[in-house]
């Protein structure tokens, strides 16, 4: 088995787990969103890696080129990135409002205040 043939996928999983760890182990809501960002980008890398063809060219039709990388994952991920920033913005807006309502963005303190009443 060739290590290079799975290297990209393993890195994707490492990145995904690092992001996942930040999401579940950190209490700060902004940090959680950063973790989610890492997780999301790892999925992008997985898709783009799956679309790569060895010795392929970028999928822009050119004279004399016959092997191209798969354009379909590119389309999916290109739109996913912009959708991702728009939804992250909604998350950040909610964090800002949570801060106004609770005076903190630490999960434990928010839960304490919720349980107190």
């Amino acid at each position: 088995m060739d290590i290079a043939s799975y290297f990209n996928y393993w890195i994707v999983i490492v990145l995904m787990m690092l992001g996942f760890y930040i999401v579940i182990a950190r209490g700060n809501l902004v940090k959680k969103l950063i973790g989610l960002n890492i997780f999301q980008t790892s999925v992008f890398i997985l898709y783009i890696s799956a679309g790569k063809v060895s010795d392929g060219a970028a999928p822009i039709l050119t004279e004399g080129v016959s092997v191209y990388s798969n354009p379909l994952p590119h389309v999916l991920i290109l739109t996913a990135i912009v959708v991702g920033i728009a939804t992250t913005a909604v998350g950040l807006a909610l964090v800002a409002r949570i801060h106004e309502a609770y005076g903190t963005v630490e999960e434990s303190q928010i839960l304490e205040q919720d349980n107190a009443c």
Partner: protein
């Protein structure tokens, strides 16, 4: 050589993600996020995904850290130390999940293989026939704006909805639509940053227009152009303050443009319905099918570009208005 670059970039991505876990303090985390975005954009270039790289460079390294910074300015930059017992369980969970996923990858086709299932289904058809059917060299644009225009319409609607959601969540009671007036207390600006950015902004906007209208021939299109254009406007806003940028492009105009972009996209589809053809069938636009495709793609890419740029500028306005209100 390509493999070496690949390994180097991916290792740097992992190093950045690890330092994100180790680092305390949100501002440092956000800088690392920006580096992470830039590295992944470079990685996408090595994977031949030039259109994706464009988008990731503008979003991952530019807009996303900026929104994070504005949020941190609202909520404070201090991050609390997690309690010890909170570390063991997450660590166990991610290790188990990670190992299971790695076992799963062994069933995947090797990286770069040309006979992987993902490359067998519709991709060869797009690559072989889009040149003839659509008549433009960039296959990504052909798929995005013609073969899969339904999906793209859905995604533009999601972006539009997210923009509305941000406005609603951050709405300041009683101050809707009014421009905050803090002209009297402008912070002193760094002259070098000011002058250099002032020179850069026109080129950024011009480049965005180039990316928009050259998207059929080279890497580019509405999504990329939208984010680049928005970055230019946001840079202006950062340098000269919210009141100045609101005079250049008033918030109500941006909000109307966001809706207009979606409308332009959807109406291009409705035009075909009126002629009794399927939704988003471009052949109604001209008698020659390739010219019709070209017109259709240009129209909906313009819709996408206008909506994406307006939504991101709107999100910036919403955060910036909130921030200047909080500082008062």
């Amino acid at each position: 050589m390509e493999l070496l670059v690949d390994i180097a970039l991916l290792s740097m991505l992992v190093a950045t993600a690890v330092s994100l876990i180790l680092v305390r303090g949100l501002v440092a985390s956000i800088m690392l996020t920006s580096i992470y975005g830039l590295l992944s954009a470079s990685f996408f270039v090595t994977m031949d995904a030039v259109d994706v790289a464009f988008t990731e460079a503008a979003v991952g390294a530019g807009v996303s850290p900026l929104l994070l910074l504005m949020t941190v300015a609202l909520v404070g930059r201090v991050e609390q130390q997690p309690r010890k017992r909170h570390i063991a369980f997450p660590l166990l969970l991610v290790t188990v999940t990670g190992v299971l996923l790695i076992v799963g990858t062994l069933d995947m086709p090797p990286f770069g293989s040309a006979d992987a299932p993902a490359l067998q289904h519709v991709a060869p058809r797009y690559l072989q026939q889009s040149g003839e059917e659509i008549g433009i060299p960039n296959v990504v644009t052909s798929v995005l704006a013609s073969y899969r225009a339904y999906d793209t319409l859905g995604e533009v609607l999601v972006i539009f909805t997210a923009g509305i959601a941000v406005i609603l969540v951050l709405m300041l009671p009683g101050r809707r639509g009014s421009v905050p007036d803090d002209a009297g207390r402008q912070r002193p600006r760094n002259v070098v940053v000011n002058v250099v950015s002032k020179i850069l902004i026109p080129f950024m906007l011009l480049f965005a227009l180039y990316v928009q209208f050259h998207g059929e021939y080279g890497p580019g299109g509405g999504f990329q152009a939208g984010v680049i254009f928005a970055s230019g406007i946001i840079l202006y806003g950062l340098l000269y303050g919210l009141p100045s940028v609101c005079r250049v492009i008033p918030p109500p105009v941006v909000e109307a443009l966001a809706a207009l972009g979606v409308l332009l996209y959807a109406l291009t589809g409705v035009l075909a319905l009126l002629d009794g053809r399927p939704f988003l069938d471009y052949s109604v636009l001209a008698t020659d099918p390739v010219t019709a495709q070209y017109l259709g793609i240009t129209a909906i890419e313009l819709g996408v570009g206008v909506t994406v740029a307006s939504v991101i500028i709107t999100i910036f306005y919403a955060f910036a208005a909130h921030l200047s209100e909080a500082q008062r």
